[in-house]
């Protein structure tokens, strides 16, 4: 069994690469309200909640991934991806057949992310469930009751340690650097890649000497009408410090109508999801032995945005695609 890396990292206050809120400096701590808090009872309650969340984060154990379990659930995924989202995934032949690879995607769709579903299905059927494939997810996702089965799919709490462990084991790792910032962007910014300047994935790829494969998706931000990230609201309520939630999104979504926080999810509109995996980027081959992180970041953003523009140009109508 692996030691509880995520909790250890949290205790040390390390930066985290996050699948659903990438590279966030850990401010959340176990126990009661933050030191120096003058919030009284609400602050202590919120602190206790934060402690609960932190305690519920499962220790990262790559062996929890269960290929048979994934295989038996692929038909359900296929139904949802094919009939509801009319998913289309291109370019999987660009993903190296063997060895560690960092799949870097743009993320859309609020707390229910259809791009992850469609891509996980396509990857698992293309390469087979036998190929180790992990997805990094926000601590809050990993600690939610009823979502423990995600671990059997290969979803692990996002941390550099977990990502390093998976990559060094030769696995494919899917990370969404834009995380919660990107996934809750307003719908009218749906065709914009927005990693919020998070570059931890590049350092990770360099450390592990693995190629980056950009994975670009379109359509996810049409599954509801996303109005605002609600960053100010999150700050006002202290959620950024207590739960590492920098956003408190507001959207119009089925069945809630006005949907604040999207904590209970929503019924996504049947927007067509198109995903394209781009040719791998070997950082040292393309940018020299000691690549400049900013230069690599600009390159990755450019190729992803160009692809997203092309995918968006193919769409004739919102939702229908």
């Amino acid at each position: 069994m692996d030691r509880p890396v995520a909790a250890g990292a949290a205790a040390n206050g390390h930066a985290q690469v996050n699948g659903h809120g990438a590279e966030i400096v850990l401010a959340a701590a176990e126990g009661p309200a933050p030191r120096g808090s003058s919030w009284g009872l609400p602050g202590r309650l919120a602190g206790a909640l934060a402690g609960q969340v932190t305690r519920r984060i499962p220790p990262a154990d790559l062996d929890e991934r269960d290929p048979d379990y994934i295989r038996e659930r692929l038909p359900g995924f296929w139904l949802l991806a094919s009939l509801w989202f009319r998913g289309e995934v291109r370019g999987l032949g660009n993903v190296p057949e063997k060895g560690g690879v960092l799949l870097v995607g743009n993320h859309s769709g609020g707390n229910l992310t259809p791009d992850t579903l469609v891509f996980t299905l396509a990857f698992s059927t293309y390469f087979g469930v036998e190929r180790p494939f992990y997805q990094l997810a926000h601590n809050l996702v990993m600690s939610m009751p009823g979502l423990s089965s995600l671990r059997r799919f290969g979803t692990v709490a996002a941390s550099p340690a977990n990502a390093r462990k998976a990559l060094s084991a030769g696995a494919a790792v899917l990370v969404y650097p834009g995380g919660d910032h990107e996934v809750h962007r307003p719908s009218w910014e749906g065709n914009r890649v927005n990693f919020d300047g998070r570059k931890g994935f590049i350092r990770l790829a360099l450390d592990q000497d693995v190629p980056i494969v950009p994975v670009v998706s379109v359509g996810g931000q049409e599954t509801a009408l996303f109005l605002t990230r609600g960053e100010g609201l999150s700050k006002l309520l202290g959620l950024d410090r207590l739960l590492r939630l920098k956003v408190l999104p507001i959207s119009l979504a089925i069945p809630w109508g006005m949907n604040v926080g999207d904590m209970l999810g929503h019924v996504p509109l049947p927007a067509k999801i198109t995903i394209e995996a781009l040719p791998p980027i070997d950082l040292r081959a393309e940018f020299g032995p000691d690549p400049d992180v900013d230069e690599v970041y600009a390159h990755v953003m450019r190729v992803m945005q160009d692809t997203l523009d092309a995918l968006a140009a193919e769409r004739r109508l919102p939702v229908l695609g």
Binding site: R73, P75, G76, W78, L79, A81, S82, L121, Y126, G128
Partner: protein, 163 residues
């Protein structure tokens, strides 16, 4: 789920067999197939293994398959080693008049997938059946064109010899 398609090809069984036994031709006549590659070095015959993928809905579905029956000019059957459970068969039978009846069968599913597995098989069936039907039509066209090309070449050779 079991789906099948059949067709009559105006060519001897050997000519059809030359296509179905050659993994290099599959991408040219099999509809929906995105990959059909030899693994482990053995290209054809009993025990040959291929990695194949068939586009159905949102995914390319398949895996590693192994040839478990190989009767020249007659039958070739395979089963899955990894990926979706499947069993397929080419069945060639000669008919009078130089025709060959070709049947392509495919059984597929995911054991243990429960009701959603059954449902996905039903929804996938029309697509898979369409792929099989189009594959046979393309096979027929290619084999018959090849027959015509060979016959024309023989006529040309005969004319050149007579001249």
């Amino acid at each position: 789920m079991r789906v099948a398609a059949e067709i009559d090809v105006s060519a001897p069984a050997e000519a059809v067999w030359a296509y179905v036994a050659d993994p290099g031709r599959y991408l040219h006549f099999m509809s929906g197939i995105t990959r059909w590659e030899v693994i482990d070095g053995r290209a054809t015959g009993l025990g040959a293994r291929y990695r194949m993928l068939l586009r159905v809905g949102s995914a390319e579905i398949g895996g590693v398959i192994e040839v478990v029956e190989h009767r020249e000019n007659c039958d070739m059957a395979w089963t899955s080693v990894t990926g979706v459970d499947q069993r397929g068969r080419w069945r060639l039978r000669e008919r009078p008049g130089g025709q060959t009846h070709v049947e392509l069968r495919l059984q597929y599913g995911v054991a243990g997938a429960g009701p959603l597995g059954w449902l996905s098989e039903q929804f996938a069936a029309p697509t898979v059946r369409g792929h099989l039907r189009r594959s046979l039509q393309q096979l027929k066209r290619q084999v018959e064109h090849e027959q015509l090309r060979v016959a024309a070449a023989a006529r040309r050779e005969a004319r050149a010899g007579a001249g």
